[in-house]
Amino acid sequence: MRALVTGANGFLGRHVVAALLARGIGVRALVRPAARLEGLGWPSSVEVFRADLRTSRGLEGAFEGVDVLLHLAAVVSGGEDAQFAGTVVGTERLLNAMAASACQCLVLCSTLSVYDFSSARRVLNEDSPLHTAPDVYARDGYTISKWWQERVTRRSAEKHGWELTVLRPGFIWGRDHGYMAALGQQFGRHHLVIGPMTRMPMTHVENCADVFALAAAHPRARGRTLNIVDGPGERIWTYLSDYMRGSGESGWRAPVPYGLAISAVRLAHATIFRRATKVPSILIPRRFESRLKPLRFENRRLRETLGWTPPLDYQQCLARTYGPAPSTAIECDSRRNNAHLPKMSEERTVEA
């Protein structure tokens, strides 16, 4: 089995590549033309296909001999328009190329951000309400582009009869990515901790990658939408303590009850910023809720559908995030798997 992985050298992508190899699945890694791959430690069995989803021609070539697409690529920095062009228009072009290939199966990396947190009550799971148009356009650029990415992917899958799995991870954390937006508002070294006892919807990058690799080959994943969290999540105050200890950051933490904070934001929005069109996200009630609303997150459907349990528990995740650099799974697994994986061709680049 061979998988095409977009965004393969990204934070999640590099771990997904490792997890696929660990399961004996061949990998073609789609990365941008100028991406630097030194230090990733990819074995020679990983075929590199260089292209930019926004502009490159010849994307069809990426699908030659591919059984499943794992679409992780998204633009998460820059302005709203750059994110839309990179994430949504890039996905349109990629899926047009897939339609011209024999590949019939894809796994999309979506996000919990597509849910309407403001409407959710107590529990957020796969049955919770999603954003709808045109309300979604009042959200941040990341939410708009990921919501649209899922929309165009579902439409394409329906049109072409593809088997689609949509995975919606919570906050993904790991080495060099220990800080999460759910931790509140940072002022330099200091933290305003909003709702310190709230449990965060979090998934360690290696656990999350394991779900993607499992879903790529699991027949029960086809046609399913699954949220990815490792469990009920750590409390914000607890994780922030671990983060500051692990990262060596010093600074004070000021706890603020969630109810007080959201009331203040709503009051400011209704008065001072009533007619404002450009306000920091944290001061917009609906965006505030999508980051910080205290809800219960669960992975029941993921466990029941795929029989998945996180390979790493919280303490192991902390150790791999803040402890000495572990020998990565990819190095171990490449040694284990190289013997039975076919040798793939040299690196390929398609023209822009």
Partner: protein, 346 residues
């Protein structure tokens, strides 16, 4: 009046946001090569229909005015098609990569009794308009010289210097800086008129995909001189406009709301710098607050685009003179042509 837009990228949002506020304007259609981009723009701004083929849009929506907001190298075809379909055209700057194409568009518009407007948004920001008001009132005196200098970091990997996906503006003579030449030329033209001669210096200080990252020009024009420049290396980002008159001088940063005047005052000459400094400090403090508040609402630094579109639609409705005349478009583009590099950097 039915409006349609081709090219639903970043600047399209400013056009659509503004059009939604204009009385008597109906957002009839939006078009983009990406179906998602077109549909998203239509959903977001309440546009009645969306298309991925601009010719199909022109045929079905029959717009009165078409806004062309595609990349600069893709303006000409859609703009010409819109004129042929009987619509007025408002095109983003630069109107076209070559002067001949701009002249052809203006001629086609005149032949078909339509209007062709290029977006000179910074001309319509409050600061240049206030300077213009003082010039017209006689308070400022005749303008002798104007300086326009844009300092903007365009060397980052997310924009013009994206190493993964060449920016369309890199196809223009002068590369990314050419995208800003209409701003420089339109402001120079506003204060000193059509150019007669221009001397330019195009250089490159840093290694990047851009052919040039610094530009300077000295322009002799009908009513005075102009010094124009673009720096991708000088920080912080700023858009300096300085106008020198026979009685007053004005200084503005068009990325902010800062505008100061210095001129005659009722004080002994030795004390003039003292009182001028006090007044300038007070004006800058006020502008700092206004700039902060401007960030929270409305068009921000695009206030001039909103003003230009408002005036254009009012003029189209009542048949009065447009804020950007065809002669102005031709004269500004002739200046732009004179500012372009004669050969590309190695």
């Amino acid at each position: 009046m039915k409006a349609a837009l081709i090219g639903a990228g970043a600047i399209a949002k400013q056009h659509l946001s503004c059009l939604k506020t204009l009385p008597g304007v109906e957002l009839a259609a939006v078009c983009d090569l990406s179906p998602a981009a077109a549909e998203a723009a239509a959903e977001r701004y309440g546009v009645r229909s969306w298309f991925t083929d601009h010719r199909a849009m022109l045929e079905k929506a029959r717009p009165d005015v078409v806004h062309v907001a595609t990349p600069p190298t893709a303006h000409f075809g859609p703009a010409m098609d819109a004129l042929d379909a009987g619509a007025h055209v408002i095109v983003e700057k630069p109107a076209a990569p070559a002067l001949g194409q701009v002249e052809a568009l203006v001629k086609r518009a005149q032949d078909s009794r339509r209007h062709f407007v290029e977006d000179y948004n910074y001309v319509f920001n409050q600061a240049p308009q206030e300077i213009l008001r003082r010039i017209e009132s006689g308070e400022f005196g005749a303008v002798t010289h104007v300086e326009v200098l844009i300092c903007l970091d365009i060397l980052g990997p997310d924009g013009f210097a994206d190493p993964n996906s060449p920016h369309p503006a890199l196809k223009l003579a002068g590369g990314a800086i050419a995208d800003f030449l209409p701003h420089l030329a339109s402001l120079a033209h506003l204060f000193v008129g059509p150019h007669r001669t221009a001397q330019t210096v195009w250089t490159k200080r840093k290694s990047s995909v851009l052919p040039f990252d610094e530009f300077r020009a000295v322009v002799a024009a009908e009513r005075g001189t102009a010094a124009l420049g673009f720096s991708a290396n000088s920080q912080p980002d700023a858009f300096w406009l300085r106008v020198y008159g026979e009685r007053m001088q004005a200084s503005a940063n068009l990325f902010e709301t800062r505008l100061t005047f210095d001129g005659p005052r009722n004080a002994p000459k030795p004390l003039r710098p003292f009182f001028s400094g006090l007044e300038e400090g007070k004006t800058i403090r006020r502008a700092a607050v206004a700039t902060l508040l401007r960030k929270f609402k409305g068009a921000g630094a695009y206030e001039g685009l909103w003003e230009l579109l408002g005036r254009t639609y009012r003029a189209l409705a009542d048949g009065s003179a447009l804020p950007v005349a065809a002669s102005q478009v031709l004269e500004v583009n002739r200046m732009v042509e004179a500012l372009k590099p004669k050969e590309r950097s190695s």
